[in-house]
Structure formats: structure tokens, C-alpha cells
Symmetry: C2
């Protein structure tokens, strides 16, 4: 394999293991073993475990942005429906994974925000970016008259992000997608009511 | 110190360290050192690190129930105000802690739900208990005509718990209580509107 391919393989496998076990509990040796990369060659690809962790977060964020674009930029749907379908697609993914893993950004936020400032800053940036994506949809919904102008799109976008992260967490703990389903139901019945 | 006092000291210090670092990253030696208990005597008090972790969760849950009782059983307030004041008091505590730690149950849910079934079951039971406490308040609010009868108290109680856990997580990542403040604002402006 090319160096870049090997690096990508390590990141992909690392993402999966870190999603399941957390960052601190995931050993470099286990990742290399799963990746079929010789033990000891890790530092050929990453300066440190910290750099590796930051690369995993970056990789996840890029893939996630692709999903956000697919749903939230879909001009064929109304802005509120775009948010709705995005949440439904996340629900389907979590259900498919038997409610394991949760959200990598949420998981690492819990684990690392107080332990590593570089992780915390990168995770905060990603949460802010997600919030801004929801806020842009809500602004467009208001502009089109789909949603009341009386709400603050930035504040409500944060409300959606909080609720969604918490619902994913509760689904992981209950091993049931019900909290995510309930969140979508209440959100669109009370907060995001179509005009 | 009595054996029971020493055990309580270990649990208290363990709760603090686990809240900051997570369960797996917290070493028994560090807890004993902080507690001033001789190294090696841990197994005098707990059968295993797992048993210790379960005792920490139990201890946290008991203290938390005391706080829930203080607010949610307060007959001098309307049911919706009881929930409001409880959330405000949690916001004040998190602010006082400079948005470190987060919620121990949420943290351990992220970290342990996929790793240890006994932890997962205990955490699920506690989340369910919290949800039921909110649901009881919402039912009373409906009964008194403070809240519309059109919502399902159990579903909305889960919605509140999800949103609150996610808001605490985002506050921890942002090192700002703003997500918790925003959550309270939107919740009482859209989902829990007084009739």
C-alpha cells in the first residue's frame, strides 16, 4: 500500500475503535493489528497519539459534512423537511448499528473536553459548524414563511443540536432508537411547527 | 476512620476524579492517594474496580435524587415552575464548576454503555427514573391545566432529558453555560408553553 493509503486505513480503523471504546482506552497496538500494519510503524504516519486523534476527528468531520450537504443543501425539499430527513437518516444509521458507538464528536466531547485543550477546541469548532448549518436552514425556513419569524435561528439551532446529541446518548444507553424517534416527534410538534 | 467512613471518602474522591477523567482513565492508586488511604487496601473496601464504579454511580444517583426531591416535590410551586427552577439550579452548578465535569451519568453512558453491561443497565435505570420524575411533573401540570393535554408526558419528559444532557455536553465542550441557558429558553418558549 502507498503511505497515504496506509494512513487512511489506520484512521478508518481508529475511528471505529475510538467510537466504540473512547480515545484513552484505545491502544495504538490494537489499531495497527486490525489495520495489518507492523507494530512500531505508527510514528511513521503520526507524530503522536494526540496528532492521530486530531486526524480521526478531522476525518469524521469531513465525512459528516458530506452527509450534511446531501440533506441540508437539497433544494428540492423545504428547509424544515431537509432538517427532518437529515435527522431521520441519522436515526436509521444508529438503528442499523444497534445503537452502539453514538456520535464520535459527542463521545470525545464528554471524554476529552477537560483533558486536552486541542481536542476541545477542534470539537467546539465542529459543533459550531453543525449549529450554523441548522441555523442557515432555519433562516431560510423563516424567509420562505415556513417557520415563524419569532424564533432566533441560532438559539433554536443550538437547541436542536443539544437535543440530538442527548437523544443519541440516551439511545446508546437504552440500546433503543426510541429517544431519537421521540426527539424528532416532539421537535416538529412543538418547536419547529410549520406555519 | 471507621471502615464505612473510609469507603465513603474513596467513593467521594472517586466520583470527582471519574467525573473529570472518565472511568477507564482513573487509576485506583490516584484515588487512594487523594483519599490518604494506603495503597493496596482498595480491595478491603471493594471487590473490584467494577464494583467500585457501580458504587460511585449509586452514590451519585442518591445525591441527585435528593436534589430532584427538593425541586420537583416543592408543592409551593406550579409543576412547570418546579422543572424550570430545577434546570436553573443545575445551570448554576455547572457555571460554578466552570463547565467542567458535565453529568456523571451522561459521561459514563458515553464511555461505558458499549463496554460493560452492568454499568449500562444501572445507567439506563437512572435515566428512566429521571424521566419518570419529569413525566410526573408534566402530568400534574396537565391535570392542573398549566400545560396542554395534547402532549404525551412520557415522550416530552424524554425530550427534556435528552435536550438537557446534550446541553450539558455542549456547555462542557464550549466551556460556556450558554447552551444550557438556550435550552431552557427554547424549551419554555415552545414545548412547555403555559396555557
Amino acid at each position: 500500500m502507498e503511505k497515504k493509503d496506509t494512513r487512511n486505513t489506520i484512521i478508518r480503523i481508529g475511528t471505529d475503535l475510538i467510537s466504540r471504546q473512547g480515545f484513552n482506552a484505545t491502544g495504538i497496538d490494537a489499531i495497527l493489528k486490525d489495520a495489518g500494519v507492523p507494530k512500531g510503524s505508527f510514528y511513521h504516519y503520526f507524530k503522536s497519539k494526540e496528532e492521530f486523534g486530531l486526524a480521526v476527528i478531522e476525518h469524521f468531520s469531513e465525512r459528516f459534512e458530506y452527509r450534511l450537504n446531501t440533506f441540508l443543501n437539497d433544494e428540492d425539499e423545504t428547509p424544515l423537511n431537509r432538517i427532518h430527513y437529515f435527522l431521520e437518516s441519522s436515526l436509521a444509521r444508529v438503528t442499523q448499528n444497534q445503537c452502539t458507538k453514538g456520535c464520535l464528536i459527542g463521545n470525545l466531547g464528554q471524554e476529552m473536553a477537560d483533558l486536552n485543550e486541542r481536542f476541545r477546541e477542534q470539537l467546539e469548532t465542529i459543533f459550531q459548524m453543525w449549529r450554523e448549518r441548522f441555523a442557515a436552514c432555519l433562516r431560510e425556513a423563516q424567509h420562505r414563511g415556513e417557520l415563524s419569524g419569532g424564533i432566533d435561528p441560532d438559539v433554536v439551532a443550538g437547541f436542536i443540536l443539544s437535543g440530538w446529541e442527548g437523544a443519541i446518548l440516551r439511545s446508546k444507553v437504552m440500546k433503543s432508537p426510541q429517544p431519537m424517534r421521540d426527539f424528532i416527534e416532539v421537535l416538529f410538534a412543538t418547536t419547529l411547527v410549520q406555519q
